[in-house]
């Protein structure tokens, strides 16, 4: 086994990206993710990589677009208001079928909001975010270890499907320190014959583009992309089940909310309530089948979120509203305590027998 090191979540993302072969990082300072930029500023010059502090998040994501067009692994990171600014570029990256990693270390909002952790960019991340028909692959780490592992996974998935991937984290995971084992990575080698590396006078010119003035062609590109999305939905769903074998109630939570929820599940079990947890690791594709299966045996669901209730809509859709779903939430940078989640579970068990 490799040695574990104590790292901040944000730093684990940065080092894992380097391990995954990312040599180009573009960012703009914003709390609570700036450690990623600071780490890259230190490391990249020493390994022949590029760290560039862009003039804006808009410029940063377009620099990402440029490197991705060359077929190289590239990333940017930001926090909620900054990720809003990147949405134009993300839509272009999706429309041009380029692989790239975008990290969102979420903070409370809307508007300038605050700098404390949040999960209120769920809709933006999982439903597209920018304009028109597209998805990102959205990965939701719940520990510093997963910040590293899912960063590496994110690059691989992006390359494999030519789809931009988002690591959807939050201020708690970004700032907290945990022991982490950074694996040695052999990046999955993917041929990129579409890359604009120069024709070398040996082939026709490549064009990286999302403009199709003929609607029948644009429609075709969208349909082809959604066929890839269907494959991703079939092949790449990830989730964790915790104490679900005999569960009568199911907590659904991701990221930092799932850490709090696990404690609450254990406390509820101690009080005799048979409750389990389903933790989506991919938020898109959403583990709808796992939830649907659970809905056949549990009596009710509670989603725990650091938002006014966003993932709850996907839970209801997944289970086709067959069972009650209630929300346990804090927002604006507040985090529910295990006791608050426990109270929700106990109340639910009383109401839905």
């Amino acid at each position: 086994m490799k040695d574990k090191v104590l790292m901040k979540g944000n730093e684990a993302i940065a080092e894992a990206a380097i391990k995954a072969g990312c040599r180009h990082y573009f960012g703009y300072p914003i709390t609570p993710q700036t450690e990623i930029a600071a780490y890259m500023a230190k490391r990249m010059p020493k390994i022949g990589g590029t760290f560039l502090q862009a003039e804006s998040e808009i410029a940063a994501i377009n620099m990402v677009y440029g490197v991705a067009a060359c077929g190289l692994r590239v990333m940017t990171s930001s926090s909620s208001p900054g990720v809003s600014l990147k949405q134009e570029g993300i839509s272009y990256i999706a429309g041009a079928d380029l692989p790239a990693l975008i990290v969102n270390v979420q903070r409370g909002g809307p508007g300038l909001g605050g700098i404390q952790p949040s999960q209120s960019d769920y809709f933006q991340a999982t439903k597209g975010g920018g304009h028109c028909d597209y998805h990102l692959i959205v990965l939701a780490p719940a520990s510093v270890q997963e910040m590293a592992d899912l960063t590496i996974k994110g690059f691989d998935l992006a390359d494999k499907y030519r789809v931009p991937t988002m690591l959807l984290s939050d201020g708690t995971l970004g700032q907290m320190m945990e022991p982490v084992e950074l694996p040695d990575v052999t990046p999955v080698k993917v041929e990129k014959p579409w890359a604009v590396t120069g024709t070398k006078n040996e082939r026709e010119h490549n064009i990286v583009n999302s403009l199709y003035l003929k609607p029948e062609i644009l429609e075709k590109t969208n349909i082809e992309r959604y066929e890839r999305y269907a494959l991703i939905e079939k092949e790449e769903v990830m989730y964790e089940e915790f104490m679900m074998d005999d569960a009568e109630y199911c907590v659904v939570a991701y990221g930092i909310a799932s850490r709090v929820s696990k404690n609450a599940v254990l406390k509820a079990r101690a009080e005799g309530v048979k409750v389990g947890l389903i933790r989506p690791i991919t938020l898109w594709p959403f583990p709808a089948d796992a939830l649907k299966k659970a809905s056949d045996k549990v009596k009710a669901f509670v989603t725990v979120e650091l938002s006014m209730g966003q993932m709850i809509e996907d839970v209801r859709l997944a289970i086709e509203c067959k069972k009650p779903v209630v929300l346990c939430n804090r927002t604006g940078g507040m985090i529910p305590t295990p006791e608050e989640v426990l109270e929700s579970i106990i109340n639910l068990a009383k109401e839905v027998k």
Binding site: H24, F26, T50, L52, A54, E55, S56, I58, A59, A60, N62, M63, V64, Y65, G66, V67, A68, A69, C70, L72, V74, E88, G89, Y92, A96, V196, T197, G198, T199, K200, N201, E202, H205, N206, I207, V208, N209, S210, L211
Partner: protein, 252 residues
Amino acid sequence: MKTVFSKPKALTNAPLHYCPGCTHGIIHRLVAEAIDELGILGKTVGVAPVGCSVMAYDYFACDMVEAAHGRAPAVATGLKRAMPDNVIFTYQGDGDLASIGMAETIHAATRNENITIIFVNNAIYGMTGGQMAPTSLPGQVTQTSPYGRDVSACGLPIKVSELLASLDAPYYIERVAVNNVKNIRNAKKAILKAFKNQTENKGFSLVEVVSTCPTNWGMTPQNALKWVDEKMIPYYPLGVYKDKGAEEKEDK
């Protein structure tokens, strides 16, 4: 048989979509000739803008990327940082470069990013049907300044070359025009130099090309060329605004 004239290799065979009398075609040709003469076609990557020249990616035979409106200098920065040995150019209009993309333009310039920018200034948004541009002249009638550009409400035009030349970092900035043979020959020299600078790792080179838009100016092509002489050039004087190469020579 001796060939006296041919299409540059850096242009594809795609027919250009530009309006009759528009000078984009001339500027495309000058860019392509420069690429041919430097023998860099195989390692050149161009960035097309949003605007009339949005489909430049079909016309240049090198690898091409289509950028979002105004973002070409940021995309070019990514391309150059990823592949420093390639030659990267952007081809942008006045709305793209001087309005929505001003931040990207100024910051690429101040980083002395080793890229080449061809900036086509025709004082109007052509693609969307003739709206006021940041470079529209005082009093100029457009779709969104139907009573003439009112400088009390819209301010005065931005002189991009003068603005960028006020920065310490950029290497080479020149304004040219393509409304007569003499000016076209000068424009060719400037564009060639802007590409050559990059191959010699000199840094940021921008050529502002004063251009026409007969369709949206509501003029015949001949009158549009005359309007460049009578109205545009007096407001946007031609010449070299920054040339660090020449400054270095003088210092010696």
